[in-house]
Symmetry: none
Subunit: 211 residues, 4 copies
């Protein structure tokens, strides 16, 4: 009787629910019960399909990450100048974060808690990403186009700025106090596309040498 055609697979629903919940409350805060409820499956089904909370967490993280790194790398491969590459790095990383708004928080948490739950593969993915950026910056520096600066710093700056869209935005919406009215008035165009452009502008200004 149920419309099983338009419904996603149980696995997919679990995955979606889990990603959301892990991001909202972290690994320890997540409740398997809650994930099951939100995924509309029986709790035991999660164990049947995936195996346990820990496994589920790794599964989610890995899945999301693979997409991200692959996406970024592919798009960069098509560019030629370091400047173009860096722009694409910023843009595509931003796009990925925007479409996986949970991700930065999930990662933050991991960074802050000694990576206790991260599967080894993920380190490699991240490593690859940073290596990519390092290459770009080095190349730009050698071409005298970029200043010398830390890839990790730039990376985190981009991420930080992007978090604004998830975090800051909802903050503004919920707590539109007098004291915040200004910030909101002064700068309100912030639809994601514009946001990414702004991030790009700022980061490029920060890195590019003025000629």
């Amino acid at each position: 009787m149920e419309d099983t055609h338009t419904e996603q697979s149980a696995l997919q629903r679990i995955s979606d629910a889990a990603a959301q919940i892990f991001a909202e409350v972290g690994f320890a805060g997540a409740r398997v019960d809650e994930i099951a409820k939100r995924a509309n499956v029986n709790k035991a089904t999660i164990y049947y399909h995936i195996g346990g909370k820990e496994t589920l967490y790794a599964y989610i993280l890995q899945q999301v990450f693979e997409n991200l790194v692959t996406g970024v790398a592919e798009r960069i491969a098509e560019c030629h100048t370091p400047e173009e590459k860096l722009k694409v790095y910023i843009r595509s990383l931003s796009v990925e974060i925007q479409s996986n708004p949970h991700l930065p928080v999930l990662m933050m948490r991991e960074f802050a808690s000694d990576y206790q739950h991260l599967p080894e593969t993920i380190f490699e993915e991240i490593g690859y990403l940073i290596e990519l950026l390092t290459g770009i910056l080095k190349e730009g520096e050698q071409q005298n186009a970029f200043i010398h600066c830390s890839p990790l710093l730039i990376h985190f700056m981009i991420i930080g700025a992007n978090i604004f869209s998830t975090a800051g935005r909802s903050f503004l919406e919920k707590h539109n106090t007098a004291s915040l009215a200004n910030a909101q008035t002064v700068y309100r165009k912030g639809v994601p596309q514009d946001l990414i452009e702004d991030i790009e502008t700022l980061v490029m200004r920060a890195v590019k040498k003025v000629t």
Copy 2:
């Protein structure tokens, strides 16, 4: 007769231990038992003084935040030009984050989970901080010294960059894989002081108009 001079009050010890632990493992990951043990008090003492895990969390957050905002505001008050003020904003926010490495993560968690645990005062503190930055940027823009850009974006960029020190550093240390060797080699001076300088440089470059 006890050496009460060198001993902090139980409340203080609880507060310290809690701040530490909440930052390490987040709200859900924290164990009241563990906090009590680290604070060297009986678990019930926490309940006597503060009232419960949730309350304790809010208490810690508030305390840490108050310090931060006060610190930043005070130091800015002493400056005159927008450029100086912005530099001080960057520096003092960075300093505060560096000395409360828990903070960004604690806040991220809140941003991601709809601020369910934040006492109202904290919003006011944050609001005040953003308002401060908004004023600085506006002033700079009016004096034709700064480009037009979102205060919140800048704010989060600074925070993001700072997270690098907490997160990225330990990440590098723990996962000194081949793929990361480069990033590390290229940029290794990173003692905190230098880090903050770098952040300042980058952000100022991003915001300041080139004349």
Copy 3:
């Protein structure tokens, strides 16, 4: 393969054990651990099925009460004269109390603590019971068979008298002091059936007009 025929459901066992224990030691005195042990289930099972001590208590009370009221009402429905009806009210209320010796105490507790634990339904049950009695007494009064008197007073008199069987009996047994020897000697036939008859006699004598 288990002998599920002779075994009651976990829920039923929980319910039985809880009714017993709540009656023995009251709400506050009851230990969830003890209920679980006596019901032969894991403590968590109680939480799974019912949800908590408070909820369990309400559940028990409601269940017991429904039975009582239904029982009384049914038996009265079969009578015709007010006198008969009143007798049946006394008898069946007494029978119900005797077979749920917990009940009066459970209720007393509620009466004394402002009914904080009672679900709304129970008030309706009690209301219905009193209404029943009110109708009987009114009818008898109109037929000039009964004196005018408060239904609630009569109701509580019946209950009070019945408590004797639970309370007084064990009191006599345990504290057969010299000072009580007399009361016991003078009146010792007290097997429940006789007791109920005596209650009936006394209450009917109190209410019925002498012609």
Copy 4:
């Protein structure tokens, strides 16, 4: 500075608060913290003056009981005929209950929970009371004025009826549902004095032989 003249002694305030609370929630349900708060003393003061929860409970019970039994006995001593004596028994017991509305509930609870907390003295007091009633009923029976009936039954009937005032009244007030409107309408004169008269009337009707 404080007006210590109009204030009762700490001991008295403790005693009052405890009596109230024990009645409301029973021994197990009572919280020393709560008693202290309501008595407006520091919790430790209770321990200093009295010694502990258990002791406090016994103290309260004993105090209340002594007054009651003494009061009843004295007033009966002044009467001559069994009928008069029984009336006085009913009246003075009722009066005592009305002015210690907690008492019946406290006792009910004890009766129901195997008297675990009752000090021995109290059994003697109760025994004496019942003995008194037994004597009255016996005498009346011998004079052919009363029917033969159980003293304990009568005793509990009186108590039960009196509970009406504490319990039933608040019940009516709080749950003035349609179904109860009738009981209330039909019988509403119930100011305590009238109530006691009604109880007297009913019990006397039940016991006295019609000549």
